[in-house]
C-alpha cells in the first residue's frame, strides 16, 4: 500500500514538474495578454459593455473586413483544394521525370514568409511587373491568388501523405465490380481521403483567414481582412478597444472552426490499412491531372522567378547592386540598421525562439504522453494537450496585440525586453512543435519502457533508451519548423519589435513602404535572401522525412 501511494505521488510530482514551466509561460505570455485584450474589448468602460462591442462590429469598414475575410478565405480554400488535390495525386501516386524537383518546388511556398510571398506577387503583377497588363494589382484576385500560392502546398502535403499510403485495393475491387475511374474516385477514393481533405481544408481556411502579410502587402488600402483591420486600428487609428473587439471576434471564430474541424476529422476509420503501393507510370488519361498540376507549378514558379529576376535588376540592367546595398541602411529615410544586421537579428531571434519552443514543447509532450493511471490524471493530461493547441487558434496578430497591450505597464513591464520577440515567436511555433512530438511519443509502446525498467533501468535511463531514439528525428524536424516559422514570423513581431532591432520581414515591409526604386530593389533582394534561408532550413527538415504539417 505504501509502495502504491509512493509511486503515484511520484508520478503526479513528475507531471507537475514537467508541466510547471510551460504552464507558467503560457499563463503569463499567452492567457494573460489574451484575456487582458478581451477585457479591454468588452469591458471598455470599466463594466461589461456589450453595446460598445456591438457598435464596433456595426462599423461599415469592420463589416466589410469581416465579409471580405470570409469570402476571400472561402474562395481561396476551395481553389487551394481544387488545385492541390490533382497535384497531390500526380506527385504521390504517379511517377514521371523531374517529379522530386517539382514536389520540393511546390512545397517551398508553405515555408516562405508571407511578406516574401506578398513582395513576389507584387513584383509579378504590380505596376512594373511582367503581368501588369492584367490589371490585377490591388484587386481581390491578387490576394486570392496569393493565398492559393501559399496554401496549395498545405493541401499537397496533408492529402498527399494520406493518398500515398492509401490502400489501392478497395478501388481495384470497385473497378473489378464495374466502376469506371471517375466513379472509383467519387465513391471510394474521395470518401477514404475525406478526413485528410477536411483537415487540410480547415487548416487552409485558418491560414487564409489569418493571413496577415499577404493581405497587407497585396491588399493595399482598399481591401482589409480582420487581421489587417486590427493592425490598422492599432497603429493608424490608435483605436485599441476596437482592435480588441475584433481580436475577440477572430478568437471565437477560429476556435469554433478548429472544434468543427476536429469533429469532422475524427470520423476517420483508424482501422484503415496503410500500405505504400507502387507508383503508376503516367499515361494519356492522366493528362487533366498533369495539366492542373502544371497550372499550379506556373502559379508557384511565376512569382518566385519574378522576385528573383527583379532582385537582379538595377535601372533596367542586370546587377547584383540590390544585394550589395543590403549592407547599407537604405535611403530616404534610412533604416535604423543595415539590412544585413536585420538578417543577423532575425537568425539570432530564430535560434532563441527555437530553443524556447523546443524546451517548452518537449516538456509539454512528455507531460502529456506519460501513462495515466487514474481518470483525473488522464483528464489533466487531456486538458494540458488541448491548452497548448490554443495558440494555434489565436492569430499571431491577436497575440502580438495582446502582449503589446498587457505587458506595457505595472509589474509586467516587459515590452522593451529583448527576449519578448523570441518568446512571442516561440508561442506561435509551439503548437507545431507539440503536434510533431506528441504523436511520436504517444506511439512509443509503454511496454517498451516497462521492459527497460524490468531489465533494471531507472526512469531517466528508460527515457534515454526508449524515448530519445524515437524522438530525436522529429525533434530536429520541429526545431527546423520552429526556426523557419520564427524567421518568417511577422504578425506578432510587428507589434513587439523594437525600433533599433528590427527583424528581416519587418525591414522588408518598411523598405516596401518607402519611395524610390533603390528601396524597392533592396526589398526584393532581402526577400530573396529570406526565402533562400527558410528554403534551406526546410529542405534540411524535409530530408528527415518526418510527417508533420498533416498532423495539424
Amino acid at each position: 500500500m505504501t509502495f502504491r501511494l509512493g509511486s503515484s505521488t511520484r508520478r503526479v510530482a513528475t507531471l507537475v514538474a514537467l508541466a510547471a514551466l510551460p504552464v507558467a509561460v503560457l499563463a503569463v505570455f499567452f492567457v494573460l495578454p489574451v484575456t487582458g485584450m478581451v477585457q479591454r474589448g468588452l469591458f471598455a468602460s470599466g463594466s461589461f459593455d456589450p453595446a460598445a462591442a456591438i457598435r464596433v462590429l456595426q462599423r461599415s469598414e469592420v463589416q466589410r473586413a469581416l465579409w471580405f475575410t470570409l469570402w476571400s478565405s472561402g474562395l481561396a480554400t476551395v481553389l487551394s483544394v481544387a488545385l492541390g488535390l490533382p497535384a497531390a495525386f500526380a506527385l504521390h501516386r504517379l511517377s514521371f521525370p523531374l517529379q522530386r524537383v517539382i514536389r520540393a518546388g511546390l512545397l517551398v511556398p508553405f515555408v516562405l514568409p508571407t511578406v516574401v510571398v506578398g513582395v513576389a506577387f507584387r513584383e509579378l503583377i504590380g505596376e512594373a511587373g511582367l503581368l501588369a497588363g492584367l490589371g490585377l494589382d490591388g484587386t481581390p484576385t491578387a490576394i486570392i491568388l496569393g493565398l492559393v500560392f501559399f496554401n496549395a502546398s498545405v493541401v499537397i502535403r496533408a492529402v498527399g501523405a494520406a493518398w500515398e499510403s492509401l490502400d489501392p485495393r478497395p478501388g481495384e475491387a470497385a473497378a473489378a465490380l464495374g466502376a469506371g475511374p471517375a466513379r472509383v474516385l467519387w465513391t471510394i477514393t474521395l470518401p477514404a481521403l475525406r478526413p485528410a481533405i477536411v483537415s487540410a481544408a480547415s487548416v487552409v481556411f485558418l491560414f487564409c483567414a489569418t493571413a496577415f502579410g499577404i493581405v497587407l502587402t497585396l491588399g493595399g488600402v482598399r481591401y482589409n481582412s480582420i487581421e489587417t483591420e486590427i493592425y490598422k486600428l492599432t497603429f493608424t487609428l490608435f483605436d485599441l478597444p476596437g482592435a480588441a473587439v475584433l481580436s475577440v471576434l477572430q478568437l471565437v471564430v477560429v476556435i469554433g472552426l478548429l472544434v468543427v474541424a476536429g469533429r469532422l476529422r475524427s470520423v476517420a476509420d483508424p482501422a484503415q490499412s496503410r500500405v505504400v503501393p507502387r507508383r503508376r507510370r503516367v499515361s494519356l488519361r492522366d493528362l487533366p491531372v498533369l495539366l492542373s498540376t502544371s497550372v499550379l507549378v506556373l502559379l508557384v514558379a511565376g512569382p518566385l522567378l519574378a522576385l528573383l529576376l527583379g532582385s537582379l535588376r538595377v535601372d533596367d540592367r542586370w546587377s547584383l547592386g540590390n544585394y550589395v546595398a543590403l549592407q547599407t541602411p537604405g535611403f530616404d529615410p534610412p533604416l535604423p540598421v543595415p539590412v544585413t544586421t536585420a538578417l543577423t537579428t532575425s537568425l539570432a531571434v530564430a535560434v532563441q525562439a527555437s530553443v524556447i519552443a523546443l524546451t517548452l514543447g518537449l516538456l509539454v509532450a512528455f507531460a502529456v504522453t506519460r501513462r495515466s493511471r487514474t481518470r483525473a490524471e488522464r483528464r489533466v493530461r487531456g486538458v494540458l494537450d488541448g491548452l497548448f493547441m490554443v495558440p494555434l487558434g489565436v492569430s499571431a496578430v491577436t497575440l502580438g496585440l495582446g502582449l503589446y497591450l498587457t505587458l506595457g505597464s505595472g509589474a509586467l513591464d516587459f515590452r522593451d525586453e529583448p527576449w519578448l520577440v523570441p518568446l512571442a515567436q516561440a508561442l506561435v511555433a509551439l503548437p507545431l512543435v507539440v503536434r510533431t512530438l506528441v504523436p511520436v511519443l504517444a506511439s512509443v509502446d509503454d511496454r517498451l519502457r516497462q521492459a527497460a525498467a524490468g531489465l533494471g533501468a531507472g526512469p531517466l535511463r528508460a527515457v534515454m533508451t526508449v524515448d530519445v531514439p524515437a524522438v530525436w528525428k522529429p525533434l530536429l524536424a520541429s526545431a527546423g519548423f520552429a526556426f523557419a516559422a520564427s524567421l518568417g514570423e511577422f504578425g506578432a513581431t510587428s507589434f513587439l519589435v523594437r525600433e533599433e532591432r528590427p527583424t528581416l520581414p519587418v525591414v522588408i515591409l518598411r523598405l516596401l513602404s518607402r519611395p524610390g526604386s533603390e528601396n524597392y530593389g533592396m526589398a526584393l533582394a532581402a526577400a530573396c535572401v529570406l526565402a533562400a534561408t527558410t528554403a534551406v532550413v526546410m529542405l534540411l527538415v524535409e530530408r528527415l522525412r518526418v510527417p508533420s504539417i498533416g498532423a495539424l
Binding site: 481495384e172 473497378a175 465490380l177 466502376a179
Partner: protein, 326 residues
C-alpha cells in the same frame, strides 16, 4: 471460357510471371497455388486488368488487351474483403448493381437473396467495422457475386481467417460457387484451401506454371520433389531409400517416392522395421517418427503409442504415396 497464352508480367525489369498458359472452362473453379513470391497474385491482377501483361489473355476467344478493369465484367475479392467501410453491408452489395443500373426494387430483393446465400440474412444495415473477419469475407463474396460476374477472381479469400473458420468457410465457398454456377479463379498459398474449394489446380513456382490438372491428377503425380512437398506430402525419399520403400509396397522401382504422413502404419507383421524416435498423440491416432533400417527417418501412424527407442514393424499403404514426375 478464360484462356491465357504465354502470359508474362515484368516489373522494373524483373519477371514476376513468365509464359503461363492456362484454360478455365465455364463453371469451373481453378486454384492458382504457389508459395509467396511465385507470381500467382500478379497473374490474377493481370487477368483482372490491373497489371499490364504480354501474351494473350482472352475471354470466349476475344482478346482482353486494352479492355480496362471495369469493362471486363469480372469481380475481384481480396484476402481481407476490402469492403467499403463507409457503406453498410447492403450498400456494399448494392454497389455493383447500381453500376449496372439494376432497378432498385430488384436490387433490394437480390441483396436479401445474396445475403441469405452467404448465411448473413438480416445483416443489411450493419457497418463492415462491426463484423467479424469471416462475416466480412462473406459480405465481400456476396458483393462479388451480386452482378453474376463472368469470372470471379479470388485473391487468398480465406487466408486472413483463423484455422477453424477457414475450413468451414472453404466448404461454404465451394457450395456457394457451385450453386451460383460461377466460374472462378482463386489464388492461394494453402494447398488445403485449394483442395477444399477448387476443381482444378495450377501450381506456380518462380512465376512459371509447374503443373496443372484436377485434384486427383496433381495429387497422384506431383511433377517433382518440390511440388510433392508443396502439395502436402510429408517427405520425399530418393535413391536406395525410395527403392526399399517401393519394394516393400509391392510397386515398381522409381528414383523417388513422396510419402504422406500416414504412408506407414505400425504393424508387427509389416515388411519394414525401425526404431521409434518420437511419438505424439492426436485425437484420432498416434503419430510416430521412426528411423527405418536402410531408409532413414519417416513418419508413421499407429493405434497405440510405442515408447521412443522401441522397435516397431511398419507396413506401407500404396495409396498414400506417389512417384514424383511419373
Amino acid at each position: 471460357m478464360l484462356s491465357l497464352s504465354e502470359v508474362s508480367v515484368t516489373y522494373d525489369g524483373e519477371t514476376a510471371v513468365e509464359d503461363v498458359s492456362l484454360e478455365l472452362a465455364d463453371g469451373e473453379v481453378l486454384a492458382l497455388l504457389g508459395p509467396s513470391g511465385s507470381g500467382k497474385s500478379t497473374l490474377l491482377r493481370a487477368v483482372a486488368g490491373l497489371e499490364s501483361a504480354t501474351g494473350a489473355i482472352s475471354w470466349d476467344g476475344r482478346a482482353l488487351r486494352g479492355v480496362p478493369t471495369h469493362k471486363r465484367g469480372f469481380a475481384l475479392m481480396f484476402q481481407d474483403g476490402q469492403l467499403f467501410s463507409h457503406l453498410t453491408v447492403a450498400n456494399n452489395v448494392v454497389y455493383p448493381m447500381r453500376l449496372r443500373r439494376i432497378p432498385s426494387a430488384e436490387r433490394r430483393k437480390r441483396v436479401d437473396d445474396l445475403l441469405d446465400l452467404v448465411g448473413l440474412g438480416g445483416y443489411q444495415d450493419r457497418l463492415p467495422g462491426t463484423l467479424s473477419g469471416g462475416e466480412r469475407q462473406r459480405v465481400a463474396l456476396a458483393r462479388a457475386l451480386a452482378v453474376e460476374p463472368r469470372l470471379l477472381l479470388l485473391d487468398e479469400p480465406l487466408s486472413a481467417l483463423d484455422a477453424g473458420l477457414r475450413e468451414r468457410l472453404a466448404g461454404d465457398l465451394r457450395r456457394i460457387l457451385h450453386e451460383a454456377g460461377t466460374t472462378a479463379l482463386m489464388v492461394t498459398h494453402d494447398q488445403e484451401e485449394a483442395f477444399a474449394v477448387s476443381d482444378r489446380i495450377a501450381l506456380l513456382r518462380d512465376g512459371r506454371l509447374v503443373q496443372q490438372g484436377t485434384l486427383q491428377e496433381v495429387w497422384a503425380a506431383p511433377v517433382d520433389t518440390w511440388a510433392a512437398l508443396f502439395l502436402g506430402y510429408a517427405r520425399v525419399l530418393e535413391g536406395p531409400a525410395a527403392y526399399t520403400v517401393l519394394k516393400a509396397a509391392g510397386m515398381d522401382p522409381a528414383g523417388a517416392v513422396a510419402l504422406r504422413r500416414s504412408a506407414f502404419v505400425a504393424d508387427p507383421a509389416g515388411p519394414l522395421t525401425g526404431t521409434v524416435v518420437s511419438a505424439r498423440a492426436t485425437p484420432e491416432q498416434h503419430r510416430l517418427v521412426v528411423r527405418l533400417d536402410d531408409v532413414g527417418e519417416v513418419d508413421a501412424v499407429a493405434d497405440s503409442a510405442p515408447a521412443p527407442g522401441e522397435r516397431v514393424g511398419l507396413r506401407v499403404e500404396p495409396n498414400r504415396l506417389a512417384i514424383p514426375g511419373s
